[in-house]
């Protein structure tokens, strides 16, 4: 393209602790361009955005805005240089009106001045009209829907004279009709000379909306191409050309009887619909899909957190419909959740308490706790899972991420489940602990458990699973065998064939 780019990034790098999030990213954005940014979960898109908005500082590399090299970028300097980001969760004042929200963003923080309500309302009306939004300036923001709040954010960005607008998965929570409205707004912005960085997993959106697309993989720019010069298969190839960096323990057990059988299972509240598959004893069934595809939601349905309202769930041939987690546990389902810190290990409590938390009824005799029984059980699991700790009385918070995960796992194994659901079991865990956890998963399957493995780490799903269910839009769209190629899985996850 001609002219100086609005935004130019050269060889950006960024590490967090030991993990290298960006390893040399190049990117440029021109005025009047919609530039899509595409990449697998964890490819580095969010880190890139946070650097551009000034939330993170790069370790190395060059940022040029309008041709000028910028040495450091803070959130406020980024904003004054005309960079605005529309997040999925808008940062608005819920109790104040639309006009006031826009006003507070644009008027600056000076405290001693008269508020001109009429001018505020007029400006809000003008800005909203420019993007074709039908929202009353008088409405309180908390009464607006999520997409309406996004439109208010866009109006703020426009009012602030933004030249670069970043949209992070803007359509994630929108209906078809709302999407159309939003696309119209994006096109309007492009015509007025704004450069838009558009992040989305939905390829059809990228082809419908973007001028160019840049693909990131493992923190590096794989390539940039005009949308007209590339097809879906090409994009997918660019996204997944990742080599296997880990050796996974081989599957050694022949699958036995069916443990979990789902027929057309759905849950309106969480968007899960028409899920059908079986998991056998001795089998690791992987669930692949992009963020928001409904994998965790499905796990929560099976565990009774958001109970199913349609379809049939059978466990060991018996029809069940878990109403709540206690019910699910009683029937032999265990769920090791995604976010250890929030839902998993209680950092203040000793390891032993953490491990027996789900089986209090067995550890208690009447009202009396049996510390000896609790301790014995904890010691068993510490040995069995090779938890590195100072004994069962050490607090959960004293453990590394991988060992916390093992404690979380022990808690659910103690319930003697038939079905074990693991949600991102190795997220934030170092490589050594990761491979230990993989071996444990394999062994548990070998001992006869049915394992449902949810992971955003595509090589992990491919390496660990006997079969892979690919989810998209709340349902399982494809079931693939173990030796599937990564890019077949990615194509299914993105909805392409």
């Amino acid at each position: 393209m001609k002219s100086t780019p609005l935004l130019e990034l050269r060889q950006l790098t960024k590490s967090f602790g030991g993990a290298r999030a960006l390893r040399g990213v190049d990117f440029e954005l021109h005025a009047g361009e919609v530039h899509a940014l595409l990449g697998e979960n964890g490819a580095g898109k969010s880190t890139l955005i946070k650097i551009v908005t000034g939330a993170h500082q790069p370790d190395d590399g060059t940022i040029r805005i309008g041709g000028e090299t910028v040495s450091s970028l803070s959130p406020s300097s980024a904003r004054s240089l005309g960079i605005a980001c529309i997040y999925q969760q808008p940062a608005l004042f819920p109790d104040l009106t639309v006009a006031e929200n826009i006003g507070l963003r644009l008027e600056g923080a000076s405290a001693v001045r008269r508020i001109d309500w009429r001018a505020r309302e007029e400006r809000a009306r003008t800005l909203l009209a420019r993007i074709g939004a039908v929202i009353s300036p008088d409405a309180e923001v908390r009464t607006l829907s999520m997409p309406e709040q996004q439109l208010v954010e866009i109006a703020c960005a426009l009012g602030a004279g933004a030249r670069v607008v970043i949209m992070d998965e803007p359509t994630a929570s929108l209906t078809q009709k709302e999407q159309h409205l939003l696309f119209g707004v994006v096109r309007e912005l492009r015509t007025s000379g704004v450069g838009i960085i558009y992040i989305s997993h939905r390829l059809e959106e990228i082809f419908a909306l973007a001028d160019r697309v840049t693909v990131l993989r493992d923190g590096q720019t794989v390539g940039t191409s005009p949308v007209g010069d590339i097809n879906e298969a090409g994009l997918i190839r660019m996204m997944v050309g990742r080599e296997m960096t880990q050796i996974y323990p081989p599957s050694e057990s022949a699958p036995r009887e069916v443990v979990l059988s789902l027929r057309d299972v759905g849950c309106n509240a969480s968007g899960v619909q028409g899920v059908t598959f079986d998991v056998r004893a001795g089998e690791v069934f992987g669930l692949a899909g992009l963020v928001g595809a409904g994998r965790t939601e499905l796990a929560r349905v099976l565990f009774g957190i958001t109970p199913a309202d349609t379809g049939e769930i059978r466990l060991n041939g018996e029809p069940i419909r878990p109403r709540n987690p206690q019910d699910a546990v009683a029937r032999g389902i265990a769920y090791v959740p995604e976010d250890r810190r929030k839902h998993g290990v209680v950092l203040e409590l000793p390891i032993a308490h953490n491990m027996t938390m789900a089986i209090h009824r067995r550890i208690f005799r009447g009202a009396w706790l049996r510390p000896d029984a609790e301790r014995a059980l904890a010691l068993d699991y510490i040995r069995d899972l090779a938890v590195k700790c100072f004994g069962p009385d050490a607090p959960g918070g004293s453990l590394s991420g991988g060992n916390q995960q093992k404690v979380s796992l022990a808690r659910w194994l103690a319930t003697k489940p038939r079905l074990l659901i693991l949600d991102e079991p190795t997220q934030g865990v170092d490589v050594g602990a990761k491979s230990e956890i993989h071996k444990i998963i394999r062994r548990l399957a070998h001992e006869g458990l049915a394992v449902l493995l949810i992971s955003s780490d595509l090589p992990e799903v491919l390496g660990m699973s006997d079969r892979i269910g690919v989810m998209r839009g709340g349902t399982v769209v494809d079931i693939l065998p173990a030796n599937t190629h990564a890019h077949t899985v990615m194509a299914a996850a993105l909805g392409q064939n």
């Binding site: 109790d95 508020i115 607006l144």
Partner: protein, 311 residues
């Protein structure tokens, strides 16, 4: 008018009570007792205005009663020493500002929860005062009561002063940027930060302002009697928080107006005299006030639930 629905419904309830009194107990409207009633509530109104700001900014200050007592005694001692009225007034407002700043530093500066910080200052100030004064009354010099005016002259002065402050603050909270920023900080501190507003600064200033208004209110209380009671402010915090909540200020911050607080305060203040005039046992006062508070909280809860479900 939908914006002021909550305020109007409190005003409606107040109007009903006043109308009921006009029909069943016209004696309530005798000018002198009524003026005395309103005068007694004038200091409370000033503290309630400050409390409204604190709660709008999503904090709370339960130490105002103790502050009020301490400032009352200090101001009384200064007046007894012969300080002129103007200087005593300045001193009370300043002492209030300093006490508020102490709360503000702990809450905004260190990020401590306001309920715990102000509980600590409530107890410390009250016990400190007890220890130093041993419950002694302060006798005020002649000529201080009612500013040396006639009783009704003094009463009118206080009532008008309180109303002027109410109107200025109520107007400022809507039409001056600083007022709107208090709402913004209370509605979502993180969003405020992103909009370039400094939430800690506003939280601090709101507490200083709360203290200064408490100082002013203590002064307005002082001139109503020839003596200062050592515990003149005990229970004041509950009274003003009740008025603020009944007046429609959301305890979760960001919502409500001083007009509502005014109506809420009058509504609660009418209950006791209304009971006397209607010859109902005075025991019922607290029960009825409690019922009104409960009703207000439940109404707000139902309303915000319904709005949340409408998304």
């Amino acid at each position: 008018m939908a914006r002021y629905f909550r305020e109007l419904s409190v005003a409606g309830a107040l109007a009903l009570v006043l109308l009921g009194l006009a029909v069943f107990a016209p004696a309530f409207y005798q000018p002198q007792p009524l003026l005395s009633l309103v005068t007694r509530e004038a200091p409370t109104l000033i503290v309630a205005c400050g409390m409204a700001l604190v709660i709008i900014s999503r904090q709370i200050d339960i130490s105002v009663g103790s502050q009020f007592s301490v400032i009352g005694v200090c101001a009384g001692l200064l007046a007894a020493k012969g300080w002129p009225l103007g200087l005593v007034l300045l001193a009370s407002v300043s002492i209030g500002g300093v006490l508020g700043a102490l709360n503000g530093i702990l809450i905004a500066g260190l990020g401590l929860p306001s309920i715990v910080v102000t509980l600590a200052t409530l107890v410390t100030l009250r016990q400190g005062l007890n220890l130093v004064r041993q419950g002694e009354f302060v006798n005020l010099p002649d000529g201080l009561q009612w500013f040396g005016l006639s009783q009704s002259g003094g009463q009118w002065t206080l009532v008008i002063a309180a109303l002027v402050i109410l109107v200025l603050l109520g107007w400022g909270m809507r039409h001056v940027a600083a007022g709107r920023l208090v709402y913004a900080v209370g509605s979502d501190a993180e969003a405020a930060r992103l909009a370039g507003i400094r939430p800690q600064l506003y939280t601090f200033l709101v507490f200083v302002f709360m203290g200064a208004l408490t100082g002013l209110a203590a002064m307005m209380n002082l001139v109503q009697s020839p003596q200062v009671q050592p515990l003149s402010g005990s229970g004041l915090e509950l009274k003003v928080i009740a008025a603020v909540v009944v007046g429609g200020v959301a305890i979760s911050g960001g919502r409500g107006t001083l007009w509502g607080v005014f109506a809420g305060l009058l509504l609660l203040a009418c209950i006791a005299p209304a009971l006397i005039h209607l010859r109902i046992e005075a025991y019922w006062e607290k029960a009825i006030q409690g019922g009104i508070i409960l009703l207000a909280v439940v109404a707000d809860g139902v309303r915000s639930r319904r709005e949340g479900a409408g998304k």
